[in-house]
Amino acid sequence: MIAVFIVVGILVVALLVVVSIYNNLVRYRIEADNAWSQIDVQLKRRCDLIPNLVETVKGVMQFERETLTKVMEARAAAMGAKSFNDRVKAEGEISGFMGRLMAVWENYPTLKSNQNAMQLQEELSSTENRIAYTRGHLNDVTSNFNALVEQFPSNVVAGSFGFKKREFFQTPETERAVPKVKLS
């Protein structure tokens, strides 16, 4: 009789543990999905801002003509991307060019004295930050989720309910490089 109780007790405890691990996994998955959709929103926002940016600075940033052309091309590529990987690549390129434009912005006094340009710069900085922050948050959540998927005992639960390791949002190399620009 006692043996039955013990067995039932162990089963109940095991079930509770499984349920809690499962719920944890689901929570992380939802959070990661949220982060992905956030990134999507911010990337769209950036694509909307780029034409405005080019319009505002093309007359002023004579030394950045090439960057401006490239950023428009990358934008077109990102908007027309067929596959997920193509899109991530194009967006990475945009981030690189934007980083460069933001870095040289200070060298143009005309832009610093123009209120519209200042507001645009604020919007762009904010959008870039949002993208970077969401990516950071997404990667944090993903790494915790992946740890759960790999570690014992949660890996057993993850395996039997079909939770797979998720991909990180990688930063492309171009984005990490320090822009080589001349100090004014």
Binding site: A35, Q119, N129, R130, Y133, T134, A177, L183
Partner: protein
Amino acid sequence: MLQPLPAETVFEAKRRSRRNTRLLFGLLLALYVVFFNLMGLVVIGQGTSDPASLLREWPGDALDGSPLVFFTVAAAVAAGIHFLWASSKSLPGILKALDASPADEKDDIHKRLINVVKEVEIAVGLSGIQPVVISTTAMNAFSIEDGSGKKAIGATEGLLGKLSRPELEAVIAHEAAHLAHGDSRVMATACALFAVFAVLAAALRPGRVRRSSRGGGGVVIVLWLLVAIAHFLTRLVSMAISRNREYMADSHGVHMCKDPLALADALKKISTGDRGTFLGNEGFSAVFILRPDCAAIEEKEGFAADLFSTHPPVAHRIEKLLQWARQTGPAPASSVPGSGVYVRQESNGSWQGPVPAGELVGNSAILPTSWIADATGLKHASQEPELYAEFVRRLGAKSSGHACPRCDVPLASGQYEGMPVLECEYCKGRLLYPGGIERAIARRLEAFDGAAVVQAKAWRAVQKGRLKDLCKMPHIDCPLCGQRMNKLLHTELTRVVIDRCSNKDCDVTWCDGGEIERIQVLVEHVV
């Protein structure tokens, strides 16, 4: 050194915050149980001739209505009510007490705060953080979460005006980390809980007690004990929650904004900038503490609160941030020796370069306080011997051979009010020789316009803090003899705190930018 966090997300933090809140309740409950039982002992014991027997019978028989059970249950009920009341304090009330108003969408500078708060919301995965602003020129930021989970991050106008965008991002990220960790909420509850005891403490001031203590001496002693313990606990809890959590918030904040230098610079600006007292510091809350809403003041998880508590942590925090920056700094500069020097733009935190080492000298865009990075590491431009020499050259014949205690740049000799002084071109601080303050006050060569007078008066009007707090600012070393400089209150009239060399033979006075002018204006126009 500060480490990037092991990816602690909001979930783990929430769990810990709940644990801390429970712990807090346990603490309060224990306090109440002890207090109620002691009170009971004293009150009942007043009628009995044999207190020892009362003590023996106190636990009694649980079924037979023992006083211990009765008072413990009463204590639990009281603690529960107290706790519910304290954790239900609402955000609007707290913000009102702090004199904070919502940020204005149409104002470009406020818009920046709104944007930055939106950004960090994303970074920590929280939503609905209200950006608020306090209209004061002092520099501070705070985060608050009330019992119902409403959150706000606030900054003062002074902070918004003086910090660059990356610095503001770093500060707000630090505050958001407090929110994400649940520090603000636990802190808010803790302060609301123990503020009541502070009210009691004020009511029990020695003078009042002696008059009313006829026949109630025992009660008063127990009350005293309670207040003392509660005071101690408040200290303990706020230290445990706030101090230790600062490094975590720094770490998490930098993990978000990826810019340890911006936070280091911001901390430095706040700690050496406007030394005015803040709306929320102890001086103000000492006036306030009699009211129940005083708790709001102490809920601040603010920079100033930390800065003024003890000074080593600021220097400590900055040092840790610099260590972090050294490890993560612009990678290309440290990886390729001789590739040139990278210069950090303060306005947007971006690194520019590489500039061949030779081209740095003579580049007017580089200030002594600019950060530069080369193969040897990260430093201020003035720490590079060649550049320091360049800054000395720029001063020409005015160079004094002594360095500014704040900026590490050469001081220039100049004249002020007809007397020789040493001046820093960057922070506008002045070194006065013995007797210089008196001379400056006596003379009227410098004319101050109406704006300067209004500004100085406005500054003086908010100086309500205790001198003790002002004097906790980090000490500086004398630029001439290298000895420590003491903090010195000029007079109660001006309330400007200046630094005087502790070496009596040297006896020079350092006035930070604008301080001597402030003294003069106040002396000339307030009397």
